[in-house]
């Protein structure tokens, strides 16, 4: 069976499921629409895994020209290609698994307003999956823009899903306007590339650019397209939409947004560079490394600092996602296959861990109608399993071996350390502090550690309080099995990423194929398979394990210190100005996005545009 025939199905099956649920959902009872959605999600997981394994046995690249529109004898053509290398297939599998987890998590108890339309929420989730899988698999720039917008529109609708409450609508609007701007900037860049090369496919554009010198047009196109993708990835200063969206979106949606959608932005930037701009006619390697390392370090540090004193648990996790995006950008920006392999493993495990953390937060929300660390102080002592999961996930975020996050961090750290030892320090510091923030929250909520919050605390610190409505209609008396099983399975998956050596080796081979400009063009346009040998396997090493233990110890120490709050006033004084930047005002966010595009241009220009 030709595996390449399966590729369009990976995108079409969720679309079909969404259509079926949208049409028939209001006539079916709740249990039937839940079953239908899980069946479609499971089927698409099976398809994605088959495509990944089929690619592993034979030719690693799975290429399908849609509708049979192959390029003609002169190499010209207008066909759209789905070009799946092992990296994009792995991301597709991660997406499908997280969607299945989300649909199981929202089984039966998740309240969908209004009562008659029981199919709308799973239909939107499946549509979201179709958009994300399409974005991973496509090999055409304009097609990736279309899938980018599709996943964006569905994400705005899902974020503002609870329209009868005031805050979700505001969060969804900020999310919608900033990300749409990113999409339009991306389209402007794609138009400029089409004007220069006459091609829309990534491989064809890369080949056309190879024959010429880079100039201001190429720089402008890179800044616009990469800027649009970095808005999706929530890099600084494009990140302002992410905490607002996470604070108001329903928990299953947060699991998907943080677990995989933001990582797709990082994947998009890497894919864009390696296929289009990595040749002699694009952006030089030093310029790209400089750009991504600057943005990555800024993002990592800012996300860490802002996550520290958040009392709203979902916003805390959102800022932690921002900081991890910074780490992923550093891993991608270093431009070696080892760093790319480490980042891929880190993304896989981080998706599972972050989704498990959001799942636990959702359980707290449904039981106590609050996600405020202060309000929940000590109340969750009666949920020991959830507390253990939360603590394990927090330790995994810090980088405790043998979790997959630790393996990914170790490999990426070591590869980044060749560029500069201070980057290793950034990795350790960022994972320690963000993991420590999560652990501190867990200690206060599940154990009641530290001094109880004062009654009349003035609203210092984060001003978004966590008083919410439970997502299950009314508070749950007993936590249902599906809601407990999902974080257990996700954390086990994250542990498996670190323990199963075949997966780490596969990530190494995937990165070897991914981080190479010529292999992609040869596979897509000439049908030549890439060289499988020469791949460096990603594996544990002593330094990585020690650094992982160090960052875990640091994180636990920071958590214990934070619980006792000795320096609360001091940190508040220093964090105040940064907090004020996150103003919730759409005009501010758009101004920062424009400034960010200008910053990208300034960072990428030296070396790209030759000053004669």
């Amino acid at each position: 069976m030709n595996v390449s025939r399966l590729l369009p199905l990976v995108i079409v099956v969720p679309l079909l499921g969404a259509a079926v649920l949208a049409l028939a959902g209001r006539r079916l009872p709740r249990i039937a629409s839940d079953v239908v959605s899980v069946v479609f999600a499971a089927f698409s997981v099976a398809l994605a895994v088959t495509a990944l394994l089929g690619g592993a046995h034979g030719d690693p690249y799975v290429v399908e020209w849609l509708g049979g529109w192959r390029p003609g004898p002169g190499g010209t053509g207008v066909g759209i290609v789905l070009a799946a290398d092992p990296m994009s297939l792995g991301l597709t599998v991660l997406t499908s698994l997280l969607v299945l987890a989300v649909l199981v998590y929202s089984w039966r108890y998740f309240e969908e307003p209004p009562r008659q339309r029981s199919g709308a929420f799973p239909a939107l989730i499946l549509l979201f999956q179709a958009g994300m899988c399409g974005f991973c698999l496509t090999g055409d720039l304009f097609n990736s823009f279309v899938f980018f917008e599709l996943m964006g529109v569905v994400a705005y609708a899902l974020t503002g899903f609870r329209v009868e409450e005031p805050r979700p609508v505001q969060g969804a609007l900020t999310f919608g306007i900033v990300n749409s701007l990113g999409g339009y900037a991306m389209l402007l860049g794609i138009s400029l590339l089409y004007a220069r090369t006459g091609e829309l496919g990534m491989a064809q554009t890369g080949r056309q650019l190879d024959g010429r010198e880079p100039d201001a047009l190429v720089l402008a196109a890179f800044v616009l397209v990469a800027g649009g993708l970095l808005v999706k990835a929530a890099a600084v200063p494009f990140h302002f939409w992410l905490p607002d969206a996470h604070a108001v979106a329903p928990t299953p949606v947060c699991m998907l947004l943080s677990g995989v959608m933001v990582e797709l932005g990082v994947f998009g930037v890497a894919r864009l560079y390696w296929t289009v701009f990595a040749g002699p006619g694009g952006v030089p390697a030093e310029a790209f490394t400089r750009t991504l390392l600057t943005l990555g370090v800024l993002t990592a540090l800012l996300g860490t600092v802002m996550s520290w004193r958040q009392r709203h648990l979902k916003r805390l996790l959102a800022f932690s996602t921002v900081s991890h995006t910074g780490l992923f950008l550093i891993g991608v920006g270093v431009l070696t296959p080892e760093a790319t392999a480490g980042t891929a493993l880190y993304v896989l495990a981080h998706g599972g861990v972050k989704a498990a953390l959001f799942a636990c937060t959702g359980i707290l929300l449904d039981r106590y109608a609050s996600v405020d660390e202060r309000e929940l102080y000590g109340r969750a002592r009666e949920l020991p399993l959830v507390g253990v999961l939360f603590g394990l996930a927090g330790l995994a975020l810090c980088g405790l071996p043998p979790f997959g996050t630790s393996l990914g961090k170790a490999v990426a750290e070591e590869a980044a350390g060749h560029t500069g030892h201070w980057l290793t320090a950034v990795f350790v510091l960022v994972s320690a502090v963000t993991g420590g923030a999560v652990l501190r929250a867990g200690l206060r909520v599940f154990l009641g550690a530290g001094p109880p919050p004062e009654e009349e605390e003035p609203l210092t610190g984060a001003r978004v309080s966590g008083d919410e409505h439970p997502e299950t209609g009314s508070r749950l008396r007993r936590i249902p099995g599906t809601m407990l099983a999902v974080p257990v399975v996700l954390l086990t998956g994250a542990l498996a990423v670190g323990l199963v050596p075949q997966w780490a080796a596969a990530a190494g081979r995937a990165a070897h194929l991914f981080a190479a400009h010529d292999i992609y063009a040869a596979a897509v346009l000439d049908g030549r398979a890439g060289p499988p040998e020469g791949a460096v396997p990603a594996q544990w090493n002593a330094a990585g394990v020690l650094l992982g233990l160090l960052s875990t110890a640091l994180g636990a120490g920071i958590a214990l210190l934070g619980v006792r709050r000795p320096l609360a006033g001091f940190t508040e004084k220093w964090l105040g100005p940064l907090r004020r930047l996150q103003s919730g005002h759409i005009g501010d966010y758009v101004a920062w996005t424009t400034a960010g595009l200008a910053l990208l241009a300034v960072l990428a220009a030296p070396g790209t545009v030759a000053f004669r």
Binding site: V78, F142, V146, E149, G152, V153, Y156, A157, G160, V163, E164, E165, P166, R167, V169, Q170, G171, A172, L173, T174, G176, I177, S180, L181, G183, Y184, L187, L188, S191, L192, Y194, A195, L200, P243, D244, A247, V248, Q310, G461, A462, R463, V464, R579, R580, Q582, S583, G584, H585, I586, G587, D588, V590, A591, T594
Partner: protein, 114 residues
């Protein structure tokens, strides 16, 4: 090659951004987002134009006639569909915003800070 359409596209994009940053009404903000998007239409169509070219319909033109690029016209149509979807969704959210908050002024929407 005349530079004017490209300058117009750039101007439309920047003026839309300016409107978004200084907007005092969310409906006006979504309108500015549509204005920003129309800069992409102008740029695409300007890229596809060929001097002396006619519409790319070969029904009544000979097959060797000079026509403008049809690919960018297809891209623009796709872009219009995307824009219509996004604008419709954002306006629907704005209706709900007005119902829940009673105001459409971004300066007064201050629930998500810090």
């Amino acid at each position: 090659m005349t530079l004017l359409p490209y300058l117009v596209a750039g101007w439309i994009f920047l003026i839309g951004l300016y409107g978004l940053v200084t907007s005092r009404n969310m409906i006006h903000a979504v309108g500015c987002l549509s204005v920003t998007q129309s800069s992409t239409y102008v740029l695409l169509l300007a890229i596809g134009y060929r001097d002396g070219g006619t519409a790319p319909v070969y029904a009544d033109a000979p097959t060797d006639a000079r026509v403008v690029d049809p690919v960018v016209q297809a891209l623009t149509l796709t872009d219009i569909v995307v824009g219509a979807t996004v604008t419709a969704l954002l306006l629907a959210l704005i209706i709900q915003l007005h119902k829940r908050h009673g105001t459409l002024d971004p300066d007064e929407l201050s629930e998500l800070k810090g």
